[in-house]
């Protein structure tokens, strides 16, 4: 089996370069047979695509997708400069 370190790097690269995702800020960790994705993306649809791309880049590992959607609140108070 590949060294977990390189598997994680390969998955991170795939997530950045795959046209379905193109996400640069996703953290990938491999522990045994489990692969963990963490971070934030702009849209709900994007969360599921990350799982697809990670599964294809690391077949045989169980993907745990802990990525969330960016929450956007009201504009709020202004800052005086």
């Amino acid at each position: 089996m590949d060294t977990p370190h390189y598997v994680a790097a390969r998955v991170q690269q795939a997530i950045a370069e795959d046209g379905r995702t193109n996400e640069l800020g996703i953290r990938v960790d491999v522990r045994g047979d489990h692969l963990f994705l963490r971070g934030q993306v702009a849209g709900e649809d994007q969360v599921h695509l990350l799982t697809d791309v990670a599964r294809e880049a690391a077949p045989g590992l169980t993907v745990h997708n802990e990525v969330t959607c960016v929450e956007v609140r009201e504009p709020g108070e202004e800052e005086h400069l």
């Binding site: 934030q40 702009a42 849209g43 994007q46 609140r73 009201e74 504009p75």
Partner: protein
Amino acid sequence: MSIRVAAVADIHLSEAQRGTYRERLDGIEERADVLLVGGDLTRHGTLGEGKIVADEFRGLPVPVVFVLGNHDYHSDVEQEIMAVLREAGCVVLDDSAETLLDGRLGIAGGKGFGGGFAGKSASEFGEPETKAFVRHTREIAERWRTALKSLDTEYKVVLSHYSPVKETLAGEPPEIYPFLGSYLLAEAVDAEGADLIVHGHAHHGTEKGMTPGGIRVRNVALPVLQRAYATYCLDAEEC
């Protein structure tokens, strides 16, 4: 008289957000005089996504100023994306300057680029690939100086995608700082003077920082703000 500047970056719109972004900007005319959007407007930089951005920002009651980000360059149609945004009545800065609000507010800037921060930055030395990387930032900084010099306005704001300082990157892994910004951008703005620098790109960074020359820097990446946009009031006495 004061000016209220609304700003956000890294909205990363794609097909899934078509028709849904606009409502976040409802009532912006009551909160701000201008809206700045600091790049990474799209996910993949396609013209289709560029058109979605143009539609979401078209006809807002306040002037809108864009710069592009690295994602908007990914499909090699950045000029076409700029054109559709301009057709929608928005200003797009590409290492240039624009005067708004009856000549009171000057905005200069563009995408910016990386290279790192003073003492820990890449140099124009060695392989052609390294030289080209550093030269790209250097040339951008030079064009920003020219753009800022051309402005004769009450207030000057710089809009960028990449960061001019590392303070607003706090939260990002330090190993990737050279890909998140360059001190050359801050140096250029410090030399010419401005009231505020707004940038995005560092999704895990921090909102507030300052240049070595004392100019306020704000990272307005949407994941950092976690609100529709930030509003900065220039000239606090009147706000």
